[in-house]
């Protein structure tokens, strides 16, 4: 068989993790470079995947399939559709920047060395690569059980990243920081474990259902979808709904959807900025991705059944997250709540069950990843400079560090989805998609735009503008390393904002297929225009426009 | 034995066996009850041995001749003896009080026991045990041969494994009980230095009290005021609480001596009773029972000779 590209894409970072961890304690610089190198190799592989992937081709491509646990029909099945490809690319792109941004994050720990074997730097980067590997493979897995394993295993490195390498800029005593950090880490773990366990029950249930309907139980996504399509497998409505809820709960925790969101602000607030990016831009995407791939395709009927409730929750997330973001005093928590609001948009788009909505949601996953990364990383640089996360401690930064302020502003504008930057496209698509099926919801969601403007601009105004505070007077501007981190992200934001077509072309077929599985059609316009091309419009002169005027008179 | 064959043959048992069952069964139950109710381990052991012998008889009655013998030889012979050895080691006369220390343990035990027993009996009751095809043809070739055939064919692996188990057990027992002396034995000099350092009983420990009639290591020596000193008794005995106190009679002799000398000197009346009264006070050991029988055993009359 051909070269197992997908496996390689997932294995390389795993190897990288091992290699990084193996670097002797003395040279931590080497460890950093090793980690960076492996992440770049992964990026290259992801690029190859992106090239080898043919948007017009089969649903799942580059597939690999081997029997794994025969007795339970568990297979090692990998395959990517457009959505997965896009998200793998996002992950592979972000990780090097995360590593670069976190270049010195693990250093402070080095000072306190209990013993020779103590090497936090190696651990930090190894864990990041570990997470990458797991995220990538869970994007690739088309076997429910395989996916579940990595979906859960992801928690372990994340737990250590949050709990072990917290943000020391809390402006609090060391031990209080430590308690807060461990609280956040445990909260993260428990929330996601709870979700995961419920999902496990659902996974087993799915196996049972397939087992007694198809004779041999299977976890393979394609098989189940085909079986459903072929009518061999028809679950009772009740069981399907239960299973759906089991899956959805886990993904909703991960995503996170209101009211299961409270772990995110703690986790993002306490962890270092790169880790926060890792959480919200990479790991959480698995949740929304899985909604698209598993919830909708395994349980189309139940998805349709649950749609209204989920739409409402998503709507609440949007407004609620934005309002709380406005109310925050802590920069990172603010960004966290903003992310909650954005995840609301993504879920809204997914369950709007329109091409625009789901395509927009997928683009949104990518764009939100990039924009949040840009904003959060710059915020991280800012915080490390001043040593405080409180908005009130800043002011007039724009005067002393214009480049930093500029990048921060661009990140912020991307977050409020300004046209011309990538997130606008996805957000607008989601809104259109939602509106065309649920006008009222669409309109309410649109209010989120204004709130987004509020929290971003308030944040910018309070930190960057105004008279220069004494504490920030000696603040250095962005260094080269930091610029190297931010500039490409911003370039990407602008490019995808101006020319998203390539991405859209990759995503669209997958979305269409999902729609067909759910068998939903886009609502038709009331007065479809025959020729959407351009032709000159010339109003009828005097006579015709008379009635226009008289119409005004009546 | 004859009843056994009969039983092995028939589905229902002969009256002989029935009689045997009822009598011995009662005894067995009583034995079992005594096993768990006796205060002294030795008594428990003996009762258990009795029960086991009865069980051996029942085996025979059920046509398990080999097992019956093995039961007597192995259990009652070997295992129970092993028990007795350990009991000796731990202390024959040591009797633990039957007072329950854990709260509610008795009640729970009783409850569980009753429930368990009833359920078990119920289980046996509604099991359909109608057809008793006895061991007639099974034992036709002789019980031992039959067993042997099974052991070396069907159960050969289990048999081997039990062999391994026994060896392991033996080795394990040795390992557990054998105590390796890790450090060099301390010389007398070191011991004395240690005593001086600690300052407690600086001179070497006193020897046990030795009298004309009691020459035993479990009798403590007496202090000047006539009270016994535990120091003089071996630690193990002390641990088991097996100290026989004879201080009382010693004092009694002293008192008798004084009385006689006073009679000779012809002064009566004054001072009498005091020493005897004083003689009554000491002699309370931590083990009243032992004190009792120790005190009652000898009579002062013989001392005079």
């Amino acid at each position: 068989m051909s070269f197992p590209l997908l496996t390689a894409t997932a294995v390389v970072p795993a190897l990288g993790a091992v290699a990084t961890a193996a670097v002797p304690a003395a040279q931590r610089a080497a460890a950093k470079w090793v980690a960076l190198g492996f992440s770049l190799v992964t990026l290259a592989l992801a690029a190859v995947v992106l090239i080898r992937f043919d948007p017009g081709g089969a649903r799942f491509q580059l597939t690999e399939s081997h029997a794994w646990i025969k007795d339970f029909g568990v297979r090692y099945e990998l395959g990517v559709d457009g959505i997965a490809v896009a998200l793998i690319a996002l992950t592979a792109v972000l990780i090097p920047f995360i590593i670069l941004a976190g270049w010195h994050d693990a250093d402070p720990l080095e000072s306190a060395r209990p013993n020779r074997r103590w090497r936090p730097t190696q651990g930090f980067f190894a864990l990041i690569l570990m997470v990458e590997a797991m995220v990538v493979i869970s994007f690739e897995a088309t076997d429910v059980f395989l996916f579940y394993i990595f979906f859960e295993a992801m928690l372990i490195p994340m737990y250590f990243l949050i709990g072990g390498f917290g943000d020391r800029a809390g402006g609090r005593s060391e031990e209080e920081t430590a308690t807060q950090r461990s609280y956040a880490a445990v909260k993260f773990l428990l929330y996601n474990l709870a979700g995961g366990l419920i999902m496990l029950a659902a996974v087993v249930g799915l196996y049972a259902v397939t087992a007694d309907q198809l004779g041999t139980g299977t976890f393979s996504l394609q098989e189940i979808v085909q079986a459903r399509a072929g009518g061999h497998l028809d679950m009772a409505a009740g069981t399907e709904r239960l299973l759906f809820l089991g899956f959805f709960f886990a993904f909703a925790v991960k995503a996170p959807l209101w009211p299961l969101h409270t772990w995110l602000p703690n986790a993002m607030g306490e962890s270092t900025a790169p880790v926060a990016v890792l959480i919200t831009a990479v790991v959480d995407k698995v949740g929304t991705f899985a909604m698209l791939r598993f919830c909708l395709q395994l349980f189309p009927e139940a998805s349709k059944w649950a749609t209204p409730a989920i739409m409402i929750l998503a709507l609440i997330s949007i407004i609620y997250g934005a309002l709380l973001a406005i109310g925050q005093r802590d920069i990172k928590r603010l960004i966290a709540y903003a992310s909650i609001s954005h995840f609301g948009f993504i879920i809204l788009g997914i369950f709007a069950m329109t091409t625009q909505g789901q395509g927009g949601a997928t683009l949104y996953m990518v764009n939100h990843g990039i924009s949040t990364a840009a904003l959060m990383l710059v915020a991280g640089f800012l915080i490390t400079r001043r040593g405080s996360r409180l908005i009130a401690d800043y002011g007039g930064v724009q005067k002393v560090a214009p480049v930093l302020a500029g990048t921060f502003l661009i990140g912020g504008l991307a977050t409020l989805s300004l046209p011309g930057l990538a997130p606008f496209i996805s957000e607008f698509l989601v809104l259109v998609g939602t509106f065309s099926r649920y006008p009222a919801l669409g309109v309410i969601a649109t209010v989120g735009i204004v709130l987004a403007a509020l929290y971003v601009l308030i944040l910018y105004q309070r930190t960057m503008t105004g008279p220069v505070k004494a504490e920030v007077r000696s603040m250095p501007d962005l260094r080269v390393r930091e610029l190297v981190v931010v500039a490409p992200l911003i370039a990407l934001l602008i490019f995808l904002g101006v020319y998203p077509k390539p991405l859209a072309d990759i995503v669209n077929p997958a979305v269409d297929h999902t729609m067909s599985v759910v068998d939903k059609k886009d609502p038709k316009p009331d007065h479809p225009v025959t020729d959407a091309g351009w032709f000159s419009y010339s109003p009828k002169s005097d006579g015709a426009s008379h009635d226009g005027a008289s119409g005004g008179a009546k | 034995m004859s009843g056994g064959t009969l039983a092995a043959a028939a589905s229902t048992t002969s009256t002989g066996e029935a009689l045997q069952f009822w009598v011995l069964g009662t005894v067995a139950v009583i034995g079992a009850l005594c096993t768990i109710l006796m205060r002294k381990a030795v008594h428990s052991a003996l009762c258990l041995a009795g029960t086991m012998i009865i069980l051996a008889v029942f085996y025979l009655a059920n046509g398990a001749y080999f097992l019956g013998v093995v039961q007597i030889v192995v259990y009652t012979g070997a295992i129970m003896m092993l028990f007795l050895f350990v009991v000796m080691l731990v202390g024959v006369t040591a009797a633990d009080s039957l007072k329950e220390t854990l709260k509610g343990q008795r009640w729970l035990a009783a409850l569980c026991g009753l429930g368990f027993g009833i359920l078990l009996c119920a289980g046996i009751g509604n099991a359909s045990l109608k057809t008793w095809n006895g061991l007639g043809q099974a034992n036709s070739g002789g019980n031992v041969e039959g067993l042997a055939a099974l052991v070396f064919t069907k159960y050969v692996f289990a048999f081997e494994i039990t062999g391994a188990l026994l060896i392991t057990a033996a080795v394990g027992a040795m390992v557990l009980t054998h105590r390796e002396r890790t450090e060099r034995a301390r010389t007398q000099r070191e011991q004395s230095e240690a005593r001086v350092r600690t300052g407690r009983n600086v001179p070497p420990l006193p020897a046990p009290g030795v009298y004309a009639r009691h020459n035993a290591v479990d009798i403590p020596g007496l202090l000047p005021d006539g009270t016994p000193s535990d120091l003089t008794v071996n630690a193990t005995l002390r641990g088991r609480g097996q100290i026989r106190d004879v201080s009382r009679e010693a004092l009694a002799e002293l008192a008798a001596l004084e009385r006689r000398s006073q009679r000779w000197l012809g002064r009566e009346g004054n001072g009498t009773g005091k020493p005897s009264g004083s003689a009554g006070e000491p002699g309370t050991s931590e083990n009243g029972e032992d004190g009792q029988n120790a005190g009652s055993a000898p009579n002062p009359r013989g001392v005079a000779k």
Binding site: - | A32, Y59, F83
Partner: protein, 99 residues
């Protein structure tokens, strides 16, 4: 008489043994009670072999005896060691399972 009574007897003995295990504090007595239970089982086995008319039950009983012997050996050894170190054979004193 129906030989099933042997089973009842076994059950009774077993229960008594179990109760003893629960009630008594002295480790040695405890072990005796365990032996009692094992014997009760053996009786049951033997009775069953009579019931089924084959010797397997007796074989099992035989194995039980062997295992019991091994168990007793090791157990008593343990008791002795514990007694040496703690000067007591009461199981309650060895409540070290609680941290």
């Amino acid at each position: 008489m129906n030989p099933v009574n042997y089973l009842y007897l076994a059950a009774l003995l077993f229960t008594i043994g179990a109760a003893g295990v629960v009630i008594r504090r002295n480790a040695i007595v405890l072990f005796m009670c365990v032996e009692l239970m094992l014997n009760a089982c053996n009786l049951a086995f033997v009775t069953f072999s009579r019931l089924h008319g084959n010797l397997d039950g007796q074989i099992i009983a035989f194995f039980t005896m062997v295992v019991a012997a091994a168990e007793v050996v090791v157990g008593l050894a343990i008791i002795v060691t514990v007694f040496r170190s703690r000067h007591s054979a009461s199981v309650d004193d060895a409540s070290l399972m609680k941290l």
